[in-house]
Structure formats: C-alpha cells, structure tokens
Symmetry: C2
Subunit: 666 residues, 2 copies
C-alpha cells in the first residue's frame, strides 16, 4: 500500500460543504461522509441513474453509464456512485437527486462509531508485569569431573537454582531423553525453556533444553476461535510485538452456522472428532501461514522463525468452540440447565490437541464462565481492560448470542441472551453477511422516501447486512416511516407496498441490483430485528437490575465482536439496542478475545488476573429470572415502551408531514 | 503342594545322630543337614558309588545302581545319594564312606544362612501409614438443575472438597473427555481415582473416573528389574496383600550379561530403543501372567481383575536398568566420571513407557544415588527396614557389582565396587549359575581329601555356582588345602594336581559328572574369587573408615541380592568376604528391591521416606579414595593380611597333619 495516499477536496453545493478524501473515493461516499444525501438505489453500480450531480469545478473520473445521455454528460452531469475523485472538485447536488428543500440542504446524520481501544505493550512493561508464562534462560554449567559426578539433570537443576534462582523444577521424559547430548553439544552452555505455572509459583516446569545460547528467541501464539472466524497472531515474546497475523473462516461453518448446529453435529457418530479436526486443521494452516510471513525481529539472529521455537499458544473461544477443540462432549450445552463439561482447562501440551507445534509447546486455554459466557468473553474483559477499570462498565459482545458483562475491577456480573441471527444477516428476507454488495449504510429523502444505499465494495446491492439493517431500521423509524411497534405506516410512495410478509420497503428495484428480485425490508424482518435488539437490551436491563443499578449509572460501554465496530451508535440508541449514553463513553474493543489471548501470552501476571476475573464473575441465567421476560416484552418496541429511557431517540424522531398518516405513538 | 507333608526320622550311626526330614529327602541331604560327611563325588547321580551306607533299621526307596552288587544290596548297602526316605530309618555310615576316625564321627560344619527379613503389612497399618499413593473414592453428587448448572468437572471437584476434604485438584484431557457420560451413567454416583503427589501434598491428581461404586477395587504393581531377572507382584491396594507373582529372565541378557555390555549395546544405532522394548515386553508378559493367575480377594466383588483396574506401578532397578527402561542414554554410566542422566524420575504415565496398562496408571520409579548405587539399592534400604533402624547397619548387595550402604535412620553412606562375576559363576573355569547340576554345597574328608558334593536338583555335577564356590574355597582353606594366598599346598592326593592354570582340586571326575571333563577348581579360579571377595571387603572397610567407624561398631549386616540367601555365613567370614560378626546380627532381605517397591505401593509415607533416604545418603566413589587400593591389596588374601580382623576364621583353620607339607601362613 502507498504510505502517502494522495487526497483531494470535494465541495458540495448548494450546501457548500467540503471534505478531504483519498483519491479514488466515489463521489457518493464523499457525500455520505459529508452528511449529504444523494438518492442512490443501486449502491454504486451505476444502473439506477438517480444519483446525478452537476460538475461545477475540476474534473471527475468516470461517472457515466447508459443512464446518462451524452448531452447531459456534456452539460456536466455525472453519476455520483460511479464517479471517483482524483483532483479538487466542486459538484452540485440537484434538487431531484438530493434532499434539500427549497434549495437548502438538510444534513443527514453522520455515523458515529465507537472509538477503538488499543492494547499497549509498554503499559505492561511500565507496570513491570511483562513476563511471559514461558521464558528462556541461558546458563553455562560446570563440567563433570571425578570430584563432581552429579547426574546431568541434577547439574542442570542446580544451575537453575544458582544462576537464575529457580527452584522446584519439574520435567518429563522428553527433556530427560535429550539432556545428555544437549549438555555436551556446546560444552555445557545450554538454554532452557521454562513454564511458570500460574497456580503454583514456587514451581517451574522444564519444557525444553537447547545446546548453546538461544534465550533471545522465544515465540508464542495467540488464537481466537470464533464461531465464524479464526484469528491468530505470532508474537515475539521478547518485545511483545506481533510478528505476523492470519485468519480464516472457521471450517466447522459447513456443518452449521451457529453453536447449536455445531453441537448437534458433534453428537453424531464421529461428529465430535470431525469438529475437532476441522478447527485444528484451520489453526495449523494459520500457524503455517504466519511462520511463512514472519520476519524475525532485530537482535533475534538471522534464521527464520521455526515451528520448534514456538513455546506457548494461548487460545480463547466460546464455550462450545473450546469444547470442540478439546473434544469434550458439548451435548449438555444446548439443553437446559446448560451444563458444560468444564469451564477451565489445565495447561496442556499443544500436541495433545494435534496442533503442529513442538511437544514442549504449552497450550493455555482461556477459562469460561458458563455454557454461554465463554473464554472469548473472559478474554474480551481482559483485552478491553474492563477487568482493571474503576469505571462502572457494560461490556457487550453482539452476535447471535449476545454476552453481557457489567462491573469493574471490584466486581463482575455476566449473562448471555440469544438474540437470534438478525445482526449477522440471518432471519432477514434479504439479509446477508457484510460482504460485497451488502447494503451497509443508508439515508432517506424525507420528501420522496427515496433511499441512498451505500454498499460494501460499491457493488450493486445484493442484500442487507447487520450494520445496514440497524441503520435502515433506525432511519425509517426516525422519519416516521416505521411505527413504534415496527409496522410500516401507509405512506404515499411506491417504495412502501404490501408484500407477502406484511408491508415492505423497497430498498432497490430488481433492475438496480445484483439480485433477481427487488431488495426489500418487510415487517417480519423488522420484527426479527426488534426481537434481537430487544433481547440484548432486556438482558442489559435485567442484569443491571440484578446488581441494583440502572442505565444512568453506566460510565462506560465496551462493544466487542465483529459487528461492534460497524454499529452506528446513534442508530443503536434510536432503535433501543444500546442504552442511551454519551457516545464518548462507548469504546470498541475489536477482537477483544484475540487481544486478551495476546496479553496473556505476555504476562503471567495477567494469567493470574484471568483466574481472579473468573472467580470474581457472577453468572446470571436470564431464563431463570422472571423479570427478564417482562423486560423483554417492554423492549420489543422502537425504542422501548418506557420512552423515558430514550429521551434523545424520541427527539430525533421526525413526524411525517400531515400529508401522510401520522403513526400512532403508543 | 501338600500342606501336611509327611516327615520321618533318620538316624545315622555310628554318630548316633537323628534328624527329621520330609519324606522323599535323599539320604545324602539328610546326612549333610545332620552335619555328617559322606564321600560323594557325583552329587546324587549315583555314578561314583562312593556314598555307600548300611541300612540297619527300617527301609529306603531306591539307593541302588550298577555301582552296587546284588550281594551288597542284600547285605543292606545303599547309595546314599539316590536313596530317599519314606519311613523312620537307621543307617550306618561305613568308615570308607565317611570321615570318622577310629570309629568316631567328626562333624562337618552346619550351614548358617542369614535369617530372613519379612515385611509385615500390619506394621504399616499399626503406624497409620498405610495409604497408597493412588486411592479410590466414591461420591454421590447433586444433580444439575436450573439453580445449579455448574460444569461437570466443577461439580465433581466441589464434591471431592465437600465429601472427602480433597482440595486443589489437577486433571487432564482424558478424564475431561469422559466425565459427562460417566457422571450420568449411574445417576451421579461416581468413583474417582486420585494420585497424591509426594512432593506436593496439598494437591491431588484426578487420574480416572468410573460410573458407580468401585472404591473397593484398587490394584497396583511392584516390579524389580534386575540385570538378570525381572520380578513382579500384583497387589491389592486395599489389604496390601500380594495377589500374584511372576518373574522371568531379563531378555536383555541376550545382548550382554552385565550392565556394561548392555550400555555398549545401547550405544549402537537403535540399540537403546531395542533395550527398552525388551524390558518392556518382559514386564508386559509378567503383567499378563499375573492377571491370569490373580483371584480377586474377598469383599472385592466377583469379577476378575482387569488391566484397567491397575492404577499404579512402582519400579525399582539399578541405574542402568532404569536408564534403559526410560530410554535415557546410559553412555556416561560406563565412563569416568560415571555420570548418569538422572538419578530421579518424575511420576510418569505407565503408557509413556509403553507398558500395557491404562493411561491413568501412574508409573513411579525408585530414585538412584549414582551410576552404580541404583534405585534397587534404595529400594533395598527401604525394604530391609535399614532406613528406620537405630542399629548401625551394613547393607551389602553381592553381585558382579557389589553395592554397600552403611548407616542407620540418622545417616547413610554408600559406595559401589566391581567384584567381577565370580559370585555368579563367571570367570571361574567350571563356574555356572545356581541351576540343576551346580555344586552348591561341599564338605571334605580331612584324611582322604575326598569331597562330598551336593548339587542343585541332585543332578550329576555340571559346574560350581557362587554359593558352592564360597563353601569350597572356605572348606579347602579351613583344611589347609589352600594357603592364605590362595595356592594349593602340595598334598598327597590325586584330587590335587598340576593343571594348565596352576594346581587344581578335582571336585568330580569326568565319569561321575554330567560334563565331558573333570570338574576342577584351579588357582586362577581361586584368584578371581579372592579378588571378588577382596573388593567387597575392601569396599566395606574403606566406607567404614570414611565415616570414622570400624567393623566392631557394626550392629547389623543386611545381605541382599539373589546370592545373599545362599551365603554360608561361616564360610563368608572364613574367606574374608564378610566382616566377622555374630551371625545372629546378619539378616537376609531376599529381593529387597521388590520389597521396597511393594512397600512404596502401599504408603505415600514411605514414598516420602524414599525421598528423604536419597537426600540423606552420601555417595563415595571408591576409585577416588586412595586408601581403597591399599585395603583391596590387603584383602586379596584368605581371609586378609590383618588376621586380627578374623580371629574366629583362623581358629577354624586346621593345619594339615604332619604327613603333608604344612602351608606357610604369611
């Protein structure tokens, strides 16, 4: 990638608003970022021809298709969705394309995404807690003679006591079998690899022994096993830095999209071992790719990093993913009372899991809280720093199963609720994952109810992804197109019509999109959406209530999970997905699970904190709390039956003009 | 075997001595036990015809061959070596067969073997230290419900804390993988198998889990890996009793008789893994045989004992045997400064050693002291009770390598010396193992110098075994046939003649024995014998000196090893193998190594004692102590150059009558 990407300024008239964007940005995206609406059904495919703008100064690349006559082109018209900027330019959004009224621009809301939480290795170093669970130590031992013929292992152990103050060493056959040669290969100069168990600090495990000086080379892995995606990083345990990254889809996906489907598959004969093989193969591939990519850091010698130099791997995943990796029978996870086999896992050999790593490599798994609050959430609580903040924090990982943690450094409470797959595009008529062609942003011409669809990859629309669904629902609700109970008002526009599943809003017509049908959002979809966001909000509300707090007590919200980074905060509060707080209090942690695993790879202190966090965390089973059902029912409205919880959302809601039937606010 | 074997009384005339023996005993053995000599070259084959006796009362079975005329038979003559008793009988030993002089019997010395040390399980119970390292506990756990959906493993661990006061449990994947089904199979009634590590009493290892009640069935193994023979016992860990025994030759023998030869073989490509396979196969066979034999004790249910119910195996062997079992490179054991890979071994899974035992079976190996004082000696110190006696004790395991331990419950010092294979029949012209045909007892007619050879199995002589060698050498020395420097005096008898290796004594003529040559003992043999006994005595003397003690301080001597039980104590002191002490102070421990392993299987307290014993024991390297060489030189005489050390031996020595040349006493 070019490090100095050229930028230029785009000025929109009549709003007279400017923005600096990278060369190559489409005009429609520039408008969206500026907070200006341009009618655009086709999402950038250039087929709807509705996004005409007039070039006034400078020039654009592209911007024409069969939808534009040569005459119009010559007059300066361009199609905003297929015109890209490469120099400073001024364009005018004509009245028919925009949403200005009487010549004045009406801004559309800018998107507010949560600011990103970043993990800083230097913090560990400053706090003096940077010491990986596996360390390497070099020693020169005295050579045996007739006055000192101690056994090789005894000599080594005494050396560790004398030279490194390490006492109570435990080792195994593998080290014993190679020690004789290893000691003598470089004349009793040796490097040992030691694991310091978290639960017994007085003891060290002697994992490996190498001839000569190798204490400058010590590498580890952190892996997050998501239900959908597996991420890994290769870490230099000396500096703490990430040397390589890789990820892939979780290949178990072919046998079921969600954890329940995976569990059902695992219950079949050989299903469990197959599930394990799939995830292990995927991790092995990630390891191979990372070793190929990685360049050894400076001061680390010349040689490429080899598999044999990986001394530890920390793995985080939800409870089901962890069960499948370990070949623990997950059957009872999906059946009330939802009993996992185990929530903690002792340190293992990586080879016990068939990982293509050396026998001396330790595999450390994040402990879980319960069947539905897994090691990934514990890792997220670590990675996001929630476990050590004084701020009263709400942590939400939004997905098919939403996990909620409330608390701070003093105490923690958690619960999980099943939101359904709406936020991942599931259960929505034209829902899809956030890939090319997914409508992921949206605005509405309040007069004409014409949409501005922004798609992933600026491809012709194919469907609606989770973040798009949230914004579309919020926008339609804000403009009074949707009623509080999620029904379409009977407005005078071809975009709203009766469909097979109640009324529906047509986002894109068949001839404008990549699908062989109109792309619509219908009332059943809205209902699924409302139930998903309602479950999450009710979960938050119930858990707060259980610990004697209310929304206004929250000092911080941490969003985790893939979806979290795309959530438009205003939309989320408008529809009642997130409680209404100052957006500055909201942080996005990215892959908190991977971050927590990375941190654990660097600090035994943090591994101890993990144990403490798990001990500290109280798990609530929402299905067993009768108030939860009431809160859920109250949350299945936009934004909620109790509007006092969402004062700003109701302020954002604009009643449709009297020319339409006003929706009745319950 | 008949429990009430019939006995009868044999009376010998003219000595008029009687003895009760079992029916079926040969007359010559009865005479030997009575302390009477009967000339007998052929050891019971009936071919020399020298052992004629005269039946005076009662009757004998057999006792005739072609060597006896019908006339003599009718007169009452019988051949003592082939006549067996089945009723009370009186026989007369005629002058030509016996050693009576002028009609009076001259007694030959009775054999004094050391009394046997017996391990008593009740002692452990009385001292309240009967608790095997692996125990089984049964529990009924509460069932999960919506108010208590703890993980299966967490529930089990809590149950162990609540019901059995077991805290800090550690387990592995194998248990985790079966716990879900196991808990539910008998409705949350389960039996767990726990190992209590000796080095960390606060922690328990959860080895196995079974559905239902199985805490009454808990079995273990103790195995002694000798260089020559492997012994095993199957133990009921509830009662402590041995349920089955088996043994076999160590199949590594085919690749070398002694440890040095085994090490040399192990240094070859694949030699080490082959040595391991051989010993492991042998142990596996022993296990199979014992499981076949064993009958479950009462109160243990009906089912046969299965492999899966064996939860621990304790193994003792010398340092080389232990290295070969573990596939540790033994190379440096045979090279100065004699450095083993390790003297201690962490607890292992039996499956790590390829033993055909369940994965949950723990393998516990006895720690060693040095390359030549191995785990078998440590086990012997345990098994013999030396580690807890207040008596100042000398422990000797006599073999090719003799190991010596001096001390008591307060302190221990040890050393090893290479005696050479004389005591195992090696390096002796007609030496052999103690099998059928080996001359193992002997007396001498002082007038005629005719021998009375007693052989193993009463077969025609084939050679001389270790215990026979000791008695023959002592007897020849006592009768002045051998000089103090181990040379034959020139006496007037065809039994003594010049041979290829100096003078020799003919024990049996070719036509009397199973070999195709005369069986002799020559001066080179005597020299090898003297060097063997001299090395051991010098080792004892040097070690005593190192700790500031002398022979007269010894309050107890413990003999160990296969040879130990056959040692005639008077002979051993006559030749200067053992220091001269009251024979009542001498104890034989049998297979002390196996006994120590058995004790360890029954008591973690004893396992802790093993650790303490090893810590307590100071190892001396005799080759590094200059005085050892002097003591060795002084010991290469019969019994020693310093005769004040052996006052009784010299008293036993009878000068040859003046008709022969008296040997010169140096």
């Amino acid at each position: 990638m070019n490090e100095t990407t050229a930028t230029c300024t785009v000025t929109f008239l009549p709003a007279n608003k400017s923005i600096r964007v990278k060369n190559g940005t489409s005009l429609i995206k520039a408008a969206r970022k500026t907070g200006l609406h341009i009618n655009a059904s086709c999402g950038g495919a250039g087929v709807c021809g509705k996004c005409r703008v007039l070039l006034e100064e400078g020039d654009l690349t592209g911007g024409t298709s069969e939808k534009l006559t040569e005459e119009d082109y010559n007059r300066g018209y361009r199609q905003a969705c297929i015109a890209t900027v490469s120099q400073d330019v001024t364009v005018r959004i004509p009245e028919e394309s925009g949403r200005q009224k009487g010549g004045l621009a009406t801004d559309i809301p800018l998107r507010h995404h949560a600011r990103m939480h970043v993990f800083n290795i230097d913090d560990l170093k400053e706090e003096d807690i940077f010491y990986p669970p596996v360390e390497k130590l070099c020693m020169e031992l005295s050579k045996p003679d007739v006055h000192d013929n101690r056994a090789d292992l005894g000599r080594l152990i005494q050396g560790l006591a004398d030279q490194h103050n390490k006492h109570r060493l435990v080792t195994g056959l593998t080290v014993m079998r190679k020690i004789r040669r290893t000691l003598r290969e470089k004349d009793f100069l040796v490097t040992v690899t030691l694991e310091q168990p978290v639960n017994d600090k007085s003891k060290s495990l002697l994992l490996n022994i190498q001839p000569g000086r190798w204490d400058h080379r010590n590498f580890g892995l952190a892996v997050d096993i998501g239900t959908t995606t597996i991420h890994g990083v290769l870490i230099d345990l000396h500096s703490g830095e990430i040397l390589a990254k890789d990820s892939c889809y979780n290949p178990q996906m072919s046998y079921g999209e969600d954890v329940i489907a995976r569990i059902i598959y695992a219950e079949k004969p050989k299903g469990l071992s197959m599930m394990q093989e799939l995830v292990v193969d995927a991790i092995n591939t990630i390891i191979k790719n990372m070793l190929k990519q990685a360049v050894p850091p400076e001061g680390c010698g010349q040689g490429a990093i080899t598999r044999d130099e990986i001394n530890s791997i920390t793995i985080a995943g939800n409870t089901t993913m962890t069960h499948l990796l370990l070949q623990l029978e997950p059957d009872n996870i999906r059946r009330s009372p939802y009993v996992p086999v185990s929530t903690f896992v002792p340190p293992l050999h990586a080879t016990d899991l068939h990982l293509e790593l050396p026998h001396h490599c330790v595999a450390l798994l994040f402990p879980a809280i319960s069947s539905y609050v897994g090691g990934d959430i514990v890792a997220g609580v670590m990675g996001s720093g929630m476990y050590r903040t004084e701020l009263l924090t709400l942590f939400i990982d939004v997905g098919t199963n939403a996990e909620i943690v409330i608390g701070n450094r003093e105490w923690l409470a958690c619960a999980a609720c099943s939101a359904g797959p709406a936020f991942e595009g599931g259960g929505i008529t034209h829902g899809m994952r956030a890939v090319d062609g997914a409508i992921s942003d949206f605005s509405l011409n309040p007069e004409t109810l014409e949409p501005m669809n922004i798609t992933q990859g600026e491809k012709a629309p194919l469907g609606i992804c989770g973040s798009g669904l949230l914004i579309i629902a919020a926008t339609l609700f804000e403009h009074g197109v949707l009623s509080q109970d999620g029904k379409f008002n009977d407005l005078d526009t071809p975009r709203i019509r009766e469909g097979r599943n109640g009324r529906e809003y047509v986002l894109a017509w068949e001839d404008e999109c990549a699908a062989d049908h109109d792309i619509v959002l219908n009332e059943v979809d809205i209902d699924n959406f409302i139930r998903a966001k309602g479950a999450i909000f009710a979960g938050v509300f119930t858990l707060l209530e259980q610990v004697g707090l209310q929304v206004s007590d929250l000092e911080q919200i941490i969003l985790a999970g893939g979806f979290g980074s795309y959530i438009d905060l205003d939309s989320a509060m408008t529809v009642g997905l997130l409680p209404e707080v100052d957006p500055d209090k909201i942080v996005y942690v990215g892959n908190g699970s991977l971050m927590g695993a990375w941190m654990s790879e660097l600090s035994n202190h943090i591994r101890q904190d993990v144990v403490n966090v798990v001990r500290k965390m109280t798990s609530f089973e929402l299905s067993e709390i009768s108030a939860f059902k009431d809160h859920y029912m109250a949350s299945t409205f936009l934004p909620h039956t109790d509007l006092s919880l969402f004062p700003k959302a109701m302020g954002r809601r604009k009643q449709k003009s009297s020319s339409h039937n006003s929706p009745v606010i319950a």
